[in-house]
Amino acid sequence: MRNPYLPEVVPIREVIEETCDTKTFRIATHLLFNPGQFVELSVFGYGEAPISISGGGDGYLDLTIRAVGNVTNRIHRMKAGDYVGIRGPFGNGWPLEKAKGKNLLIVAGGIGLAPLKPVVEYVCRHREEFKMVTLLYGARRPSLMLFKYKFREWEKFMDLLLTVDEPEEGWKGHVGVVTTLCDKIKHRSDTITLMCGPPIMMKYTSMVLIELGFPPSEIYLSLERNMKCGIGICGHCAVGGVYVCRDGPVFSLNKALRFIEKPHEVQGVLD
Protein backbone atom coordinates (compact mmCIF):
# COMPACT_ATOMS: atom_id res chain seq x y z
CA MET A 1 0.00 0.00 0.00
CA ARG A 2 1.33 3.43 -0.95
CA ASN A 3 1.61 5.85 1.96
CA PRO A 4 -0.52 8.86 0.95
CA TYR A 5 1.33 11.16 3.38
CA LEU A 6 4.79 10.58 1.86
CA PRO A 7 5.57 13.20 -0.78
CA GLU A 8 7.51 12.59 -3.94
CA VAL A 9 10.71 14.66 -3.79
CA VAL A 10 11.00 16.60 -7.05
CA PRO A 11 13.18 19.41 -8.44
CA ILE A 12 11.92 22.78 -9.62
CA ARG A 13 12.77 22.95 -13.30
CA GLU A 14 11.95 26.59 -13.95
CA VAL A 15 10.47 29.60 -12.17
CA ILE A 16 8.25 31.97 -14.14
CA GLU A 17 7.51 35.41 -12.67
CA GLU A 18 3.82 36.17 -13.15
CA THR A 19 3.08 39.25 -11.02
CA CYS A 20 4.63 41.02 -8.04
CA ASP A 21 3.25 38.36 -5.66
CA THR A 22 2.76 35.32 -7.87
CA LYS A 23 5.15 32.92 -9.58
CA THR A 24 4.70 29.72 -11.53
CA PHE A 25 6.92 26.82 -10.51
CA ARG A 26 7.52 24.20 -13.15
CA ILE A 27 8.08 20.96 -11.27
CA ALA A 28 9.74 17.92 -12.85
CA THR A 29 7.39 14.97 -12.32
CA HIS A 30 5.42 12.45 -14.34
CA LEU A 31 2.31 12.77 -12.19
CA LEU A 32 -0.88 12.73 -14.27
CA PHE A 33 -3.82 14.95 -13.38
CA ASN A 34 -7.26 16.15 -14.42
CA PRO A 35 -7.92 19.89 -14.78
CA GLY A 36 -9.11 21.25 -11.41
CA GLN A 37 -7.17 18.78 -9.26
CA PHE A 38 -4.57 19.91 -6.75
CA VAL A 39 -1.44 18.65 -5.03
CA GLU A 40 -0.16 19.05 -1.49
CA LEU A 41 3.09 20.92 -1.94
CA SER A 42 5.84 20.39 0.67
CA VAL A 43 8.55 22.88 1.36
CA PHE A 44 10.61 20.85 3.82
CA GLY A 45 11.00 22.67 7.11
CA TYR A 46 8.01 24.92 6.41
CA GLY A 47 5.16 22.48 5.84
CA GLU A 48 2.54 21.80 3.23
CA ALA A 49 -0.01 23.81 1.25
CA PRO A 50 -2.71 22.68 -1.19
CA ILE A 51 -1.95 24.13 -4.63
CA SER A 52 -3.92 23.68 -7.84
CA ILE A 53 -2.20 22.30 -10.89
CA SER A 54 -2.15 25.16 -13.38
CA GLY A 55 -0.74 23.22 -16.29
CA GLY A 56 1.37 20.27 -17.29
CA GLY A 57 3.22 18.60 -20.08
CA ASP A 58 5.82 16.01 -20.80
CA GLY A 59 7.51 15.35 -17.46
CA TYR A 60 6.38 18.50 -15.66
CA LEU A 61 3.57 20.17 -13.74
CA ASP A 62 3.01 23.88 -13.22
CA LEU A 63 2.04 25.32 -9.84
CA THR A 64 1.10 28.99 -9.85
CA ILE A 65 1.52 30.30 -6.34
CA ARG A 66 0.70 33.56 -4.59
CA ALA A 67 2.94 34.36 -1.62
CA VAL A 68 0.69 34.80 1.42
CA GLY A 69 2.24 32.81 4.29
CA ASN A 70 4.73 30.34 5.57
CA VAL A 71 5.05 27.82 2.75
CA THR A 72 4.16 30.11 -0.13
CA ASN A 73 6.63 32.83 0.90
CA ARG A 74 9.40 30.29 1.26
CA ILE A 75 8.88 28.73 -2.15
CA HIS A 76 8.98 32.22 -3.67
CA ARG A 77 12.62 32.38 -2.56
CA MET A 78 13.46 29.08 -4.28
CA LYS A 79 14.96 28.68 -7.74
CA ALA A 80 15.41 26.12 -10.50
CA GLY A 81 17.26 23.09 -9.16
CA ASP A 82 15.86 23.39 -5.63
CA TYR A 83 13.78 20.51 -4.34
CA VAL A 84 10.22 20.42 -3.05
CA GLY A 85 7.78 17.60 -2.33
CA ILE A 86 4.40 16.89 -3.87
CA ARG A 87 1.70 14.37 -3.14
CA GLY A 88 -1.51 13.87 -5.03
CA PRO A 89 -3.19 14.64 -7.27
CA PHE A 90 -6.26 15.09 -5.08
CA GLY A 91 -9.84 16.17 -5.66
CA ASN A 92 -12.44 15.58 -8.35
CA GLY A 93 -11.52 18.26 -10.90
CA TRP A 94 -13.79 20.15 -13.31
CA PRO A 95 -16.69 18.28 -14.99
CA LEU A 96 -15.25 18.84 -18.47
CA GLU A 97 -17.13 15.87 -19.93
CA LYS A 98 -20.44 17.55 -19.07
CA ALA A 99 -19.41 20.67 -21.00
CA LYS A 100 -18.65 18.88 -24.25
CA GLY A 101 -21.08 19.76 -27.01
CA LYS A 102 -22.30 22.75 -25.02
CA ASN A 103 -21.39 26.38 -24.47
CA LEU A 104 -18.70 26.88 -21.87
CA LEU A 105 -18.33 29.83 -19.52
CA ILE A 106 -15.14 30.10 -17.49
CA VAL A 107 -15.18 32.67 -14.67
CA ALA A 108 -12.02 33.42 -12.72
CA GLY A 109 -11.03 35.96 -10.09
CA GLY A 110 -7.40 36.64 -9.13
CA ILE A 111 -5.40 33.50 -8.40
CA GLY A 112 -8.57 31.54 -9.25
CA LEU A 113 -7.42 31.47 -12.86
CA ALA A 114 -4.68 28.97 -11.92
CA PRO A 115 -6.94 25.89 -11.57
CA LEU A 116 -8.88 26.97 -14.68
CA LYS A 117 -5.86 27.39 -16.93
CA PRO A 118 -5.75 23.66 -17.80
CA VAL A 119 -9.38 23.98 -18.93
CA VAL A 120 -8.58 27.00 -21.10
CA GLU A 121 -5.67 25.12 -22.62
CA TYR A 122 -7.85 22.08 -23.23
CA VAL A 123 -10.31 24.27 -25.09
CA CYS A 124 -7.51 25.66 -27.25
CA ARG A 125 -6.45 22.14 -28.18
CA HIS A 126 -9.95 20.71 -28.65
CA ARG A 127 -11.98 23.75 -29.71
CA GLU A 128 -14.35 21.64 -31.85
CA GLU A 129 -15.69 19.84 -28.75
CA PHE A 130 -17.49 22.96 -27.51
CA LYS A 131 -19.98 25.47 -28.87
CA MET A 132 -19.40 29.06 -27.73
CA VAL A 133 -16.66 29.55 -25.14
CA THR A 134 -16.18 32.63 -22.92
CA LEU A 135 -13.45 33.36 -20.40
CA LEU A 136 -14.40 36.05 -17.91
CA TYR A 137 -11.42 37.09 -15.81
CA GLY A 138 -11.16 39.78 -13.17
CA ALA A 139 -8.16 40.96 -11.16
CA ARG A 140 -7.65 43.70 -8.63
CA ARG A 141 -5.27 45.61 -10.91
CA PRO A 142 -3.99 45.07 -14.46
CA SER A 143 -0.50 44.36 -13.15
CA LEU A 144 -1.92 41.53 -11.03
CA MET A 145 -3.41 39.68 -13.99
CA LEU A 146 -1.99 36.21 -14.47
CA PHE A 147 -0.88 34.67 -17.77
CA LYS A 148 -1.25 37.96 -19.72
CA TYR A 149 1.32 36.66 -22.20
CA LYS A 150 -1.16 33.92 -23.14
CA PHE A 151 -4.17 36.15 -23.78
CA ARG A 152 -3.44 36.74 -27.48
CA GLU A 153 -3.30 32.99 -28.08
CA TRP A 154 -6.43 32.29 -26.01
CA GLU A 155 -8.41 35.00 -27.80
CA LYS A 156 -8.22 32.99 -31.01
CA PHE A 157 -10.34 30.30 -29.43
CA MET A 158 -12.73 32.08 -27.10
CA ASP A 159 -14.33 35.35 -26.09
CA LEU A 160 -12.04 36.96 -23.56
CA LEU A 161 -13.77 39.36 -21.17
CA LEU A 162 -11.30 41.10 -18.85
CA THR A 163 -11.90 43.49 -16.01
CA VAL A 164 -9.99 45.11 -13.14
CA ASP A 165 -11.16 46.67 -9.88
CA GLU A 166 -8.70 49.57 -10.09
CA PRO A 167 -7.21 50.67 -13.43
CA GLU A 168 -3.53 51.48 -13.89
CA GLU A 169 -1.78 53.56 -16.54
CA GLY A 170 -2.25 52.12 -19.98
CA TRP A 171 -5.31 50.02 -19.11
CA LYS A 172 -7.94 50.54 -21.79
CA GLY A 173 -10.23 47.71 -20.82
CA HIS A 174 -13.23 47.39 -18.53
CA VAL A 175 -13.18 48.60 -14.94
CA GLY A 176 -15.45 47.05 -12.31
CA VAL A 177 -16.01 43.80 -10.49
CA VAL A 178 -16.58 40.60 -12.47
CA THR A 179 -20.37 40.83 -12.17
CA THR A 180 -20.44 44.04 -14.20
CA LEU A 181 -19.29 42.05 -17.25
CA CYS A 182 -21.83 39.24 -17.00
CA ASP A 183 -24.33 40.81 -19.39
CA LYS A 184 -21.64 40.74 -22.13
CA ILE A 185 -21.72 36.93 -22.21
CA LYS A 186 -23.21 36.00 -25.57
CA HIS A 187 -24.68 32.65 -24.53
CA ARG A 188 -27.19 31.87 -21.79
CA SER A 189 -28.83 28.53 -22.32
CA ASP A 190 -27.04 25.22 -22.77
CA THR A 191 -24.02 26.57 -20.89
CA ILE A 192 -21.78 24.90 -18.32
CA THR A 193 -20.11 27.44 -16.04
CA LEU A 194 -16.83 26.75 -14.24
CA MET A 195 -15.90 29.29 -11.58
CA CYS A 196 -13.04 29.90 -9.16
CA GLY A 197 -12.14 33.00 -7.20
CA PRO A 198 -12.53 34.70 -3.82
CA PRO A 199 -15.67 33.61 -1.91
CA ILE A 200 -17.33 37.01 -2.25
CA MET A 201 -16.79 37.06 -6.01
CA MET A 202 -18.23 33.57 -6.47
CA LYS A 203 -21.25 34.46 -4.41
CA TYR A 204 -22.16 37.64 -6.30
CA THR A 205 -21.31 36.19 -9.68
CA SER A 206 -23.55 33.20 -8.96
CA MET A 207 -26.39 35.54 -8.05
CA VAL A 208 -26.01 37.54 -11.24
CA LEU A 209 -25.70 34.46 -13.44
CA ILE A 210 -28.87 32.99 -11.95
CA GLU A 211 -30.67 36.25 -12.58
CA LEU A 212 -29.50 36.10 -16.19
CA GLY A 213 -31.04 32.64 -16.49
CA PHE A 214 -28.12 30.26 -15.96
CA PRO A 215 -29.47 27.23 -14.07
CA PRO A 216 -27.75 26.59 -10.69
CA SER A 217 -27.25 22.92 -11.56
CA GLU A 218 -24.93 23.90 -14.42
CA ILE A 219 -22.75 26.32 -12.46
CA TYR A 220 -19.70 24.70 -10.87
CA LEU A 221 -17.59 26.29 -8.15
CA SER A 222 -14.18 25.31 -6.83
CA LEU A 223 -14.15 25.89 -3.06
CA GLU A 224 -11.07 26.78 -1.06
CA ARG A 225 -10.76 25.38 2.44
CA ASN A 226 -8.05 24.85 5.00
CA MET A 227 -6.58 21.48 4.08
CA LYS A 228 -4.05 19.34 5.88
CA CYS A 229 -4.33 15.79 4.58
CA GLY A 230 -6.05 16.03 1.18
CA ILE A 231 -7.64 12.60 1.64
CA GLY A 232 -10.69 13.15 3.82
CA ILE A 233 -9.23 12.27 7.21
CA CYS A 234 -7.89 15.34 9.04
CA GLY A 235 -11.29 17.05 9.01
CA HIS A 236 -10.13 20.60 8.28
CA CYS A 237 -11.81 21.06 4.91
CA ALA A 238 -15.18 19.63 5.99
CA VAL A 239 -18.22 21.77 5.34
CA GLY A 240 -21.77 20.65 5.92
CA GLY A 241 -20.93 16.95 5.87
CA VAL A 242 -18.71 16.83 2.79
CA TYR A 243 -14.94 16.84 2.55
CA VAL A 244 -13.91 19.52 0.09
CA CYS A 245 -10.58 17.74 -0.53
CA ARG A 246 -12.12 14.40 -1.43
CA ASP A 247 -15.69 15.12 -2.57
CA GLY A 248 -14.64 18.41 -4.20
CA PRO A 249 -13.07 20.90 -4.51
CA VAL A 250 -15.53 21.35 -7.39
CA PHE A 251 -19.25 21.31 -6.56
CA SER A 252 -22.29 22.33 -8.52
CA LEU A 253 -23.97 25.40 -7.07
CA ASN A 254 -27.08 23.29 -6.60
CA LYS A 255 -25.22 20.83 -4.47
CA ALA A 256 -23.38 23.50 -2.45
CA LEU A 257 -26.73 25.11 -1.66
CA ARG A 258 -27.94 21.84 -0.20
CA PHE A 259 -25.03 21.40 2.24
CA ILE A 260 -26.37 21.39 5.79
CA GLU A 261 -23.90 24.08 6.78
CA LYS A 262 -24.13 26.62 4.00
CA PRO A 263 -20.70 27.48 2.54
CA HIS A 264 -19.99 31.23 2.67
CA GLU A 265 -19.41 31.12 -1.07
CA VAL A 266 -23.13 30.58 -1.67
CA GLN A 267 -24.71 32.26 1.34
CA GLY A 268 -27.53 34.48 0.17
CA VAL A 269 -27.71 32.85 -3.25
CA LEU A 270 -31.34 31.95 -4.06
CA ASP A 271 -32.45 33.04 -0.57
Binding site: K228, I233, G235, G241, I260
Partner: protein, 349 residues
Amino acid sequence: MKLVKMVTIMMLKIAKNRINEFLAALKEEYTLYAPTSNGVTKFEKIEDLTSICFLPNRTDISLKSIFFPPKQKFFRWKRGEMGYELEDYLDGEEKKVIFGARGCDIRSLKILDMYMRGEFSDPYYEKRRKNTIIIGISCDYPRESCFCSAFGGMVPEDGYDLWFTDIGTHYFVDVGSDIGKELISLGFFQEASPEDLRKKKRRIEKVQFEIERRTRIDLCEVKRCSQEIKKKSQDEIWRELGEICLCCGKCNFVCPTCHCFDVRDIPSFDGSEGYRIRVWDSCHLYEYAKTSAENFRKEKHARVRYRVYDKFVFPVMRYGVYACTGCGRCTEVCPAGINLREVLRRLVE
Protein backbone atom coordinates in the same frame (compact mmCIF):
# COMPACT_ATOMS: atom_id res chain seq x y z
CA MET B 1 -18.72 -18.30 12.55
CA LYS B 2 -20.54 -21.56 13.36
CA LEU B 3 -17.73 -22.61 15.70
CA VAL B 4 -17.86 -19.33 17.55
CA LYS B 5 -21.54 -19.89 18.18
CA MET B 6 -20.80 -23.31 19.63
CA VAL B 7 -18.32 -21.93 22.12
CA THR B 8 -20.75 -19.24 23.23
CA ILE B 9 -23.43 -21.79 23.70
CA MET B 10 -21.01 -23.80 25.82
CA MET B 11 -20.92 -20.85 28.28
CA LEU B 12 -17.66 -20.01 29.95
CA LYS B 13 -16.26 -18.26 32.96
CA ILE B 14 -12.86 -17.49 34.43
CA ALA B 15 -12.02 -17.38 38.13
CA LYS B 16 -10.91 -13.91 39.26
CA ASN B 17 -7.84 -15.40 40.95
CA ARG B 18 -6.69 -16.79 37.59
CA ILE B 19 -6.91 -13.50 35.68
CA ASN B 20 -3.30 -12.61 36.35
CA GLU B 21 -2.09 -15.98 35.06
CA PHE B 22 -4.19 -15.50 31.96
CA LEU B 23 -2.82 -11.98 31.37
CA ALA B 24 0.73 -13.17 32.01
CA ALA B 25 0.26 -15.83 29.33
CA LEU B 26 -1.02 -13.18 26.90
CA LYS B 27 1.91 -10.92 27.74
CA GLU B 28 4.29 -13.64 26.55
CA GLU B 29 3.04 -13.23 23.03
CA TYR B 30 1.44 -9.79 22.87
CA THR B 31 2.01 -6.27 24.09
CA LEU B 32 -0.58 -5.83 26.81
CA TYR B 33 -2.48 -2.59 27.31
CA ALA B 34 -4.76 -2.13 30.31
CA PRO B 35 -6.09 0.64 32.57
CA THR B 36 -3.59 2.23 34.97
CA SER B 37 -3.86 5.21 37.25
CA ASN B 38 -1.61 8.02 38.40
CA GLY B 39 -4.52 10.17 39.44
CA VAL B 40 -5.73 10.12 35.85
CA THR B 41 -6.82 6.74 34.52
CA LYS B 42 -5.74 5.68 31.05
CA PHE B 43 -4.69 2.68 28.96
CA GLU B 44 -0.97 2.01 29.14
CA LYS B 45 1.49 -0.60 28.04
CA ILE B 46 1.72 -3.03 30.97
CA GLU B 47 5.17 -4.19 32.10
CA ASP B 48 4.16 -5.18 35.63
CA LEU B 49 0.76 -6.85 36.04
CA THR B 50 0.27 -5.28 39.48
CA SER B 51 0.04 -1.85 37.85
CA ILE B 52 -3.30 -2.80 36.25
CA CYS B 53 -6.30 -1.01 37.75
CA PHE B 54 -9.57 -2.89 37.85
CA LEU B 55 -11.84 0.12 37.45
CA PRO B 56 -15.60 0.18 37.96
CA ASN B 57 -16.16 2.00 34.66
CA ARG B 58 -14.34 3.73 31.78
CA THR B 59 -10.92 5.42 31.96
CA ASP B 60 -10.50 9.21 32.02
CA ILE B 61 -8.36 9.20 28.87
CA SER B 62 -9.74 7.28 25.90
CA LEU B 63 -8.24 4.38 23.96
CA LYS B 64 -7.60 6.42 20.85
CA SER B 65 -4.09 7.56 21.81
CA ILE B 66 -2.79 4.00 21.39
CA PHE B 67 -3.75 4.03 17.72
CA PHE B 68 -3.72 7.77 17.06
CA PRO B 69 -1.20 9.40 19.43
CA PRO B 70 -1.52 13.12 20.26
CA LYS B 71 1.73 13.73 18.42
CA GLN B 72 3.09 11.36 15.81
CA LYS B 73 6.01 11.40 13.41
CA PHE B 74 5.18 10.79 9.77
CA PHE B 75 8.73 10.82 8.42
CA ARG B 76 12.15 12.33 8.78
CA TRP B 77 13.55 14.38 5.93
CA LYS B 78 17.22 15.07 5.44
CA ARG B 79 18.86 17.22 2.81
CA GLY B 80 21.07 15.07 0.58
CA GLU B 81 22.72 14.86 -2.81
CA MET B 82 19.45 14.48 -4.68
CA GLY B 83 17.23 16.90 -2.82
CA TYR B 84 15.87 15.23 0.28
CA GLU B 85 15.90 11.73 1.64
CA LEU B 86 12.76 10.65 3.44
CA GLU B 87 12.66 8.03 6.16
CA ASP B 88 9.19 6.77 6.96
CA TYR B 89 8.27 6.41 10.65
CA LEU B 90 5.46 3.88 10.32
CA ASP B 91 5.58 2.20 13.72
CA GLY B 92 3.64 0.45 16.47
CA GLU B 93 2.94 -2.70 14.52
CA GLU B 94 3.39 -5.08 17.48
CA LYS B 95 0.54 -7.47 18.26
CA LYS B 96 -1.57 -5.95 21.00
CA VAL B 97 -4.09 -7.07 23.55
CA ILE B 98 -6.31 -4.40 25.02
CA PHE B 99 -7.65 -5.64 28.33
CA GLY B 100 -10.49 -3.88 30.11
CA ALA B 101 -12.07 -1.99 27.20
CA ARG B 102 -15.61 -0.76 27.84
CA GLY B 103 -18.56 -0.80 25.47
CA CYS B 104 -17.97 2.87 24.65
CA ASP B 105 -14.27 2.19 23.94
CA ILE B 106 -15.15 -0.58 21.54
CA ARG B 107 -17.77 1.47 19.71
CA SER B 108 -15.33 4.36 19.48
CA LEU B 109 -12.82 2.12 17.70
CA LYS B 110 -15.45 1.15 15.18
CA ILE B 111 -16.13 4.83 14.55
CA LEU B 112 -12.42 5.69 14.26
CA ASP B 113 -12.04 2.77 11.83
CA MET B 114 -14.79 4.22 9.71
CA TYR B 115 -12.86 7.50 9.39
CA MET B 116 -9.33 6.12 9.24
CA ARG B 117 -9.73 2.87 7.33
CA GLY B 118 -12.17 4.09 4.69
CA GLU B 119 -11.64 4.80 1.03
CA PHE B 120 -8.23 6.24 1.82
CA SER B 121 -6.71 4.24 4.63
CA ASP B 122 -4.45 6.07 7.07
CA PRO B 123 -1.28 3.92 7.10
CA TYR B 124 -0.07 5.18 10.49
CA TYR B 125 -3.36 4.28 12.13
CA GLU B 126 -3.69 1.02 10.20
CA LYS B 127 -0.26 -0.17 11.29
CA ARG B 128 -1.13 0.25 14.97
CA ARG B 129 -4.70 -0.88 14.68
CA LYS B 130 -4.28 -4.21 12.88
CA ASN B 131 -3.41 -7.27 14.99
CA THR B 132 -5.30 -5.88 17.97
CA ILE B 133 -7.14 -8.23 20.29
CA ILE B 134 -9.81 -6.71 22.46
CA ILE B 135 -10.98 -8.06 25.79
CA GLY B 136 -13.89 -5.98 27.01
CA ILE B 137 -15.53 -5.81 30.38
CA SER B 138 -18.95 -4.76 31.68
CA CYS B 139 -19.08 -1.72 33.95
CA ASP B 140 -19.99 -2.06 37.64
CA TYR B 141 -21.83 1.23 37.67
CA PRO B 142 -21.94 4.27 35.35
CA ARG B 143 -20.18 7.58 35.83
CA GLU B 144 -22.22 10.70 36.39
CA SER B 145 -21.75 11.80 32.77
CA CYS B 146 -22.39 8.47 31.01
CA PHE B 147 -25.15 8.03 28.44
CA CYS B 148 -24.05 5.04 26.38
CA SER B 149 -27.57 3.64 26.64
CA ALA B 150 -28.45 6.20 23.98
CA PHE B 151 -26.11 4.39 21.57
CA GLY B 152 -26.91 0.76 22.25
CA GLY B 153 -25.91 0.31 25.88
CA MET B 154 -23.03 -0.97 27.91
CA VAL B 155 -22.46 -4.22 26.02
CA PRO B 156 -21.52 -3.68 22.38
CA GLU B 157 -23.05 -5.79 19.62
CA ASP B 158 -19.61 -6.80 18.32
CA GLY B 159 -16.06 -5.53 18.04
CA TYR B 160 -14.64 -7.57 20.95
CA ASP B 161 -12.86 -10.89 21.02
CA LEU B 162 -13.83 -11.68 24.61
CA TRP B 163 -16.27 -9.93 26.91
CA PHE B 164 -16.09 -10.30 30.70
CA THR B 165 -18.90 -9.66 33.17
CA ASP B 166 -18.33 -9.76 36.92
CA ILE B 167 -20.48 -12.44 38.58
CA GLY B 168 -18.83 -12.53 42.01
CA THR B 169 -15.90 -14.94 42.29
CA HIS B 170 -15.72 -15.27 38.51
CA TYR B 171 -16.13 -13.32 35.29
CA PHE B 172 -18.71 -14.66 32.89
CA VAL B 173 -17.08 -14.79 29.43
CA ASP B 174 -18.73 -14.12 26.07
CA VAL B 175 -16.73 -15.01 22.98
CA GLY B 176 -16.99 -12.59 20.08
CA SER B 177 -14.64 -13.96 17.44
CA ASP B 178 -12.45 -16.81 16.25
CA ILE B 179 -9.48 -15.15 17.92
CA GLY B 180 -11.48 -15.09 21.15
CA LYS B 181 -12.00 -18.79 20.74
CA GLU B 182 -8.25 -19.32 20.42
CA LEU B 183 -7.72 -17.39 23.64
CA ILE B 184 -10.15 -19.74 25.36
CA SER B 185 -8.02 -22.66 24.29
CA LEU B 186 -5.15 -21.25 26.38
CA GLY B 187 -6.93 -23.13 29.16
CA PHE B 188 -7.77 -20.69 31.96
CA PHE B 189 -11.51 -20.99 31.44
CA GLN B 190 -14.16 -23.34 32.74
CA GLU B 191 -17.74 -24.10 31.90
CA ALA B 192 -20.35 -21.74 33.34
CA SER B 193 -23.67 -22.89 34.77
CA PRO B 194 -27.17 -21.64 33.91
CA GLU B 195 -27.08 -19.92 37.30
CA ASP B 196 -23.92 -18.04 36.20
CA LEU B 197 -25.73 -16.93 33.06
CA ARG B 198 -28.64 -15.65 35.14
CA LYS B 199 -26.22 -13.75 37.37
CA LYS B 200 -24.60 -12.16 34.31
CA LYS B 201 -27.93 -11.08 32.88
CA ARG B 202 -29.09 -9.63 36.18
CA ARG B 203 -25.83 -7.77 36.58
CA ILE B 204 -26.00 -6.21 33.12
CA GLU B 205 -29.65 -5.28 33.51
CA LYS B 206 -28.97 -3.57 36.82
CA VAL B 207 -26.16 -1.40 35.46
CA GLN B 208 -28.05 -0.74 32.26
CA PHE B 209 -31.04 0.43 34.27
CA GLU B 210 -28.83 2.77 36.25
CA ILE B 211 -27.35 4.29 33.08
CA GLU B 212 -30.77 4.75 31.53
CA ARG B 213 -32.06 6.36 34.69
CA ARG B 214 -29.25 8.90 34.43
CA THR B 215 -29.45 9.39 30.74
CA ARG B 216 -33.16 10.00 30.54
CA ILE B 217 -32.71 9.94 26.73
CA ASP B 218 -34.22 6.78 25.47
CA LEU B 219 -33.35 4.99 22.28
CA CYS B 220 -36.38 6.07 20.36
CA GLU B 221 -35.40 9.68 20.92
CA VAL B 222 -31.90 9.03 19.66
CA LYS B 223 -33.20 7.50 16.47
CA ARG B 224 -35.02 10.76 15.96
CA CYS B 225 -32.22 12.93 17.20
CA SER B 226 -30.27 13.31 13.96
CA GLN B 227 -33.38 14.52 12.14
CA GLU B 228 -34.31 16.84 15.00
CA ILE B 229 -30.86 18.39 15.28
CA LYS B 230 -30.66 18.83 11.52
CA LYS B 231 -33.80 20.96 11.69
CA LYS B 232 -32.33 23.14 14.44
CA SER B 233 -29.35 24.68 12.70
CA GLN B 234 -30.74 28.16 13.37
CA ASP B 235 -31.88 27.45 16.95
CA GLU B 236 -30.98 29.97 19.63
CA ILE B 237 -29.21 27.22 21.59
CA TRP B 238 -26.09 27.67 19.42
CA ARG B 239 -25.77 31.35 20.30
CA GLU B 240 -26.25 30.50 23.97
CA LEU B 241 -23.56 27.82 23.88
CA GLY B 242 -21.30 30.06 21.81
CA GLU B 243 -21.52 32.64 24.60
CA ILE B 244 -20.25 30.28 27.28
CA CYS B 245 -17.91 27.93 25.36
CA LEU B 246 -14.27 28.92 25.90
CA CYS B 247 -13.23 27.19 22.69
CA CYS B 248 -10.43 25.49 24.56
CA GLY B 249 -10.69 22.24 22.61
CA LYS B 250 -10.59 19.97 25.66
CA CYS B 251 -13.78 18.21 24.57
CA ASN B 252 -12.12 17.29 21.28
CA PHE B 253 -8.97 15.98 22.88
CA VAL B 254 -10.72 13.66 25.32
CA CYS B 255 -13.30 12.49 22.81
CA PRO B 256 -12.54 8.95 21.63
CA THR B 257 -13.95 9.60 18.15
CA CYS B 258 -12.53 13.08 17.42
CA HIS B 259 -9.80 12.48 14.88
CA CYS B 260 -8.83 15.88 13.44
CA PHE B 261 -5.18 16.67 13.10
CA ASP B 262 -2.77 19.31 11.92
CA VAL B 263 0.37 18.52 9.92
CA ARG B 264 3.59 20.37 10.81
CA ASP B 265 7.29 20.40 10.08
CA ILE B 266 9.80 20.43 12.94
CA PRO B 267 13.17 21.39 11.43
CA SER B 268 16.56 21.15 13.10
CA PHE B 269 18.42 24.38 13.91
CA ASP B 270 20.16 24.63 10.56
CA GLY B 271 17.15 23.36 8.60
CA SER B 272 19.11 20.52 7.01
CA GLU B 273 16.83 17.88 8.47
CA GLY B 274 13.66 17.55 10.45
CA TYR B 275 10.42 15.75 11.02
CA ARG B 276 7.00 15.96 9.44
CA ILE B 277 4.57 15.29 12.25
CA ARG B 278 0.87 15.33 12.94
CA VAL B 279 -0.71 16.63 16.12
CA TRP B 280 -4.29 16.47 17.34
CA ASP B 281 -6.34 19.48 16.35
CA SER B 282 -9.69 20.83 17.46
CA CYS B 283 -12.61 22.21 15.48
CA HIS B 284 -13.34 24.57 18.39
CA LEU B 285 -10.12 26.52 17.81
CA TYR B 286 -10.30 29.81 15.94
CA GLU B 287 -7.70 28.83 13.34
CA TYR B 288 -9.28 25.51 12.42
CA ALA B 289 -11.14 26.47 9.25
CA LYS B 290 -9.09 29.57 8.40
CA THR B 291 -7.61 29.94 4.95
CA SER B 292 -5.65 32.74 3.36
CA ALA B 293 -8.95 34.03 1.99
CA GLU B 294 -11.38 33.73 4.89
CA ASN B 295 -12.15 32.11 8.22
CA PHE B 296 -15.14 29.94 7.49
CA ARG B 297 -16.12 29.42 11.14
CA LYS B 298 -15.10 32.71 12.64
CA GLU B 299 -17.91 32.79 15.19
CA LYS B 300 -17.87 30.61 18.27
CA HIS B 301 -21.45 29.47 17.93
CA ALA B 302 -20.70 28.15 14.44
CA ARG B 303 -17.83 26.07 15.81
CA VAL B 304 -19.88 24.72 18.72
CA ARG B 305 -22.65 23.77 16.32
CA TYR B 306 -20.18 22.20 13.95
CA ARG B 307 -18.92 19.77 16.59
CA VAL B 308 -22.42 18.67 17.56
CA TYR B 309 -23.34 18.27 13.88
CA ASP B 310 -20.16 16.34 13.20
CA LYS B 311 -21.22 13.79 15.83
CA PHE B 312 -24.99 13.59 15.30
CA VAL B 313 -25.81 14.77 11.78
CA PHE B 314 -22.96 14.59 9.24
CA PRO B 315 -21.76 11.04 10.03
CA VAL B 316 -25.36 9.85 10.01
CA MET B 317 -25.81 11.31 6.54
CA ARG B 318 -22.51 10.02 5.23
CA TYR B 319 -22.09 6.66 6.94
CA GLY B 320 -25.41 6.04 8.67
CA VAL B 321 -23.68 6.05 12.06
CA TYR B 322 -23.65 8.35 15.09
CA ALA B 323 -20.06 9.39 15.85
CA CYS B 324 -20.69 9.62 19.60
CA THR B 325 -20.47 6.76 22.08
CA GLY B 326 -22.12 8.52 24.99
CA CYS B 327 -18.96 8.15 27.07
CA GLY B 328 -19.51 11.58 28.61
CA ARG B 329 -15.83 12.56 28.57
CA CYS B 330 -16.50 15.91 26.89
CA THR B 331 -19.02 16.78 29.57
CA GLU B 332 -16.69 15.77 32.37
CA VAL B 333 -13.78 17.97 31.26
CA CYS B 334 -15.63 21.05 29.99
CA PRO B 335 -14.51 24.09 32.01
CA ALA B 336 -17.64 25.94 30.93
CA GLY B 337 -19.89 23.21 32.26
CA ILE B 338 -21.43 22.34 28.90
CA ASN B 339 -23.20 19.00 29.29
CA LEU B 340 -23.63 17.23 25.96
CA ARG B 341 -26.38 15.01 27.32
CA GLU B 342 -28.38 18.08 28.33
CA VAL B 343 -27.66 19.79 25.01
CA LEU B 344 -29.05 16.73 23.22
CA ARG B 345 -32.06 16.62 25.44
CA ARG B 346 -32.85 20.24 24.64
CA LEU B 347 -32.39 19.62 20.95
CA VAL B 348 -34.68 16.60 20.78
CA GLU B 349 -37.31 17.88 23.18
